[in-house]
Amino acid sequence: MRALSSRVRAPAAGRSSAGRTSWFKWLMLFAAVVLALALPYGVSSFWIDIATQALIFGLFALSINIISGYGGMITLGHAGLLGVAGYGVAILTTHSGWPLGAAVAAALLICAVASVFFGALVVRSRGTYFVMITLAEGMVVWGIAQRWGELTGGENGIPGIPKPSFALLDWQYYYFVLAAVAVCTVLIARLVRSPFGLSLKGIREAEDRLAPLGYNVALHKLIAFTISGVFAGVAGVLLAMYNNFIGPSDVFFLASASGLLMLILGGIGTLTGAYVGAAVVTIIENWVSSYFERWQTLLGIVFVLVILFAPDGIVGAWTRHVWVPLLRRLGAGDEAAAAQTATASASGVGLIAAEDRAPSDFRGGVSATEDARSHTTSEPTESDREGARR
């Protein structure tokens, strides 16, 4: 077996003319951090709650993004892994009386084991089969949550999960979640830009090509699945502590689908998209619903509009129509092009609007496979794309 991705080099980013834009980017990031930190001072506790929820679901969507957005494997069972960790912490704290810290650590460990197990069952499949098996895995967890009443409380769920003693108030818990989510996001950002992340993108674009190049595709997928599962588990732990409650509806496949929809809405294959999508859905669900009875219809309309007019999600549209022109004006053509291809390839997961894209949209994907030392010279053909998706 060849060493994992050891031979892959990260592409040299075009940073030559990027001094100004780079600072601009850091300024934006800094502004976002300041905004996130200042939020509890500026808004009512209701909005702190909304923000907390959006961050938790954003992290969940981002965990799906690792395999669905970057790895091209669409999952409908991730809420099951969220649930394994959530129920783990719930059972260990309420039934077994463990201290919270130990319970969280154990719950994440259990979640990692479950992720390896679920991943092992699914990594050799693709496309629709992948979706169906993950769906089934999620439903297994849901079934246990629903039916193993003595352990999981059945339909009634488990109330009474404690929060950390230093984060009992809503704004304290917000900061706690913000810190956890920030750490996870940085880790995920590092992961997807690492050589491993690149080979993951390679799998997304042309799984069939990577195997002959000596990559252990199944192992890559398994590791990605496991990492993704653990981050979903972190979201599960945060959610269980936030609500002081976990129940079967948190684990149901609709929760998985909701995470995926947040991701698509925000922009699949982007880091910020998950949070943007989660924020939009959370606000519609919790705030708009107070004023507009048919809020679910509204949510549906938003989804349709986004799919029609911004198939690469809100962040994708933002990048194309605002970010890239802005970077160009600041005189960073390379960066702009990089951003362009990043979103274009990221949206090429094959779930949405696949037919509408010209082959040139796959440049990002091709570069990923070339980065992975592809010896092919030709543009990917229709049959390649079919194969990659099948």
């Binding site: 980013a13 930190l37 629903q146 339909e155 304290q172 900061y175 129940g247």
Partner: protein, 447 residues
């Protein structure tokens, strides 16, 4: 893009340091924000209602909202000089949404009292929230999980107009055995509400010498009952107990008739199977003559019920369901407590004590009060579906069991020593002797 570049790493470190400093600053200062509920002794009393007006149980949630609004419309929204201001939030039948909406009501709308929700899992989620927020008082008119007034009671979550799932089915089991049923089959929905309904029946039926030969469970959302009903052999059983709920109920009723079991096998069901919200949608005579046990009978001839049914019909043009009756009663309950306290509900403990002590004689359920554990004590009616004079299907009272407790004839302590009814525990082997009974130990039970 390579984040491993040294300068980038430095920038990250800088950004993170700033973040850490800001976080520490935040920790020291801390954004304040008082969460004073709208209790006090002056001004309006703010009440937040948590009814699921969207999602799978939207119809029932809308009935709940209607019942709540009807009471205030008929009786005026000022009680003991204080105006009752209600804000409705949709829980969508989901525990997480219930929690968010409860927080929103308490924090944004400054309510001191919540009413709702409907489903058991929503109720448990809200119970957890209330436990953490002892200054908020929750009225629970519909979340019928047994344990909310048994093993997992939360003091500031009061069953006002509510009930326990197994309370009406416990007399049902005893009744069936007294009718001479020796062998019975139960068919319940495969979740907590179903287990508790079936458990109540199975427990008392076996106490009285009956034998539950088979327990069938259909998943929530069963569209075809024939495979379950096919397992009922009319020759080998004396009767069948069925619980169904929501959209499953009309499907069960249809299957029962279509398969020719109606009139051939004695049947009794729980409250929700022949609930008015189910009967409304049935045009044929399939349910006519079938019997069930419940707290609410829209055809009852008590003044409280008649007055409520007439007013509801006038307002909404249909017969009220038990969901409407429950929130109507919750409003009546709150009204009684506020009147007793002369409008001063500033002391939460005092308010809870008063709410727990409320005894209503004339609700749409009949008389209603709470026991020492916070469980509803109310009449249980054996009901029969009939066509009323205007051609609508409604439940009429066949027999009244007055003031039935959640512990039925058992001693509360002995009862609470057992686990809550579940798929595993249906009480069929308990109790083994008369020690567990406070009264009316069944004949044949050892001492």
């Amino acid at each position: 893009m390579n984040l491993c570049l040294g300068t980038a790493r430095l920038r990250w470190a800088a950004a993170m340091t700033v973040a850490a400093i800001a976080a520490v600053a935040a920790g020291c200062g801390g954004p304040g924000g008082g969460d004073e509920g709208g209790a006090g002794s002056k001004g309006p009393i703010r009440v937040g209602t948590l009814f699921p007006t969207s999602g799978t149980v939207a119809a029932a949630g809308t009935d709940m909202l209607n019942g709540w609004r009807l009471w205030w419309k008929l009786h005026g929204s000022t009680v003991a000089g204080r105006k009752i201001e209600s804000t409705q939030e949709d829980t969508a039948g989901d525990p997480n949404t219930t929690l968010t909406k409860a927080r929103k009501l308490v924090q944004q709308n400054e309510v001191g009292i919540t009413v709702g929700p409907l489903l058991a899992n929503e109720a448990y989620a809200l119970a957890g929230y209330l436990k953490e927020n002892p200054d908020v008082v929750g009225l629970n008119p519909a979340g019928s999980s047994d344990d909310l007034s048994q093993r997992k009671r939360v003091d500031n979550f009061v069953r006002a107009g509510g009930w326990q799932s197994s309370t009406p089915t416990q007399p049902a089991g005893a009744w069936a055995a007294q009718q001479g049923w020796k062998r019975a089959i139960t068919l319940c929905t495969d979740y907590a509400f179903g287990y508790e309904n079936c458990g109540g029946f199975a427990n008392t039926f076996t106490d009285h010498g009956g034998k539950v030969v088979k327990q069938l469970y259909s998943p929530l959302g069963t569209s075809d009952y024939s495979s379950y009903l096919a397992q009922i052999d009319p020759k080998s059983v004396d009767g069948v107990f069925v619980q169904s709920v929501g959209a499953d109920a009309p499907k069960f009723i249809k299957a029962w008739s279509d398969l020719g079991l109606k009139g051939k096998v004695p049947l009794i069901t729980n409250e929700t199977t022949f609930e008015q919200s189910t009967l409304r949608g049935i045009k044929n005579d399939d349910p006519v003559g079938l019997e069930s046990f419940g707290h609410y009978a829209e055809g009852a001839s008590t003044p409280g019920t008649e007055q409520f049914v007439a007013a509801y019909k006038k307002e909404y043009g249909q017969l009220p369901s038990y969901y409407s009756c429950s929130t109507y009663t919750a409003a009546q309950w709150l009204s009684a407590a506020v009147t007793q306290l002369k409008g001063d509900i500033g002391d939460t403990q005092e308010l809870l004590k008063t709410l727990n002590g409320v005894k209503l004689q004339d609700t749409c359920f009949g008389p209603m009060a709470l026991d020492d554990h916070g469980g509803t004590v109310a009449n249980v009616y054996m009901r029969k579906v009939a066509r009323s004079s205007d051609g609508k299907l409604a439940n009429e009272v066949v027999k009244t069991y007055p003031n039935v407790s959640q512990f039925f004839n058992y001693k509360p302590d002995a009862f609470l020593d057992q686990p809550v009814y579940s798929r595993e525990y249906q009480g069929t082997d308990w109790p083994t002797n008369c020690d567990a009974f406070a009264r009316a130990c069944p004949p044949g039970m050892g001492s």
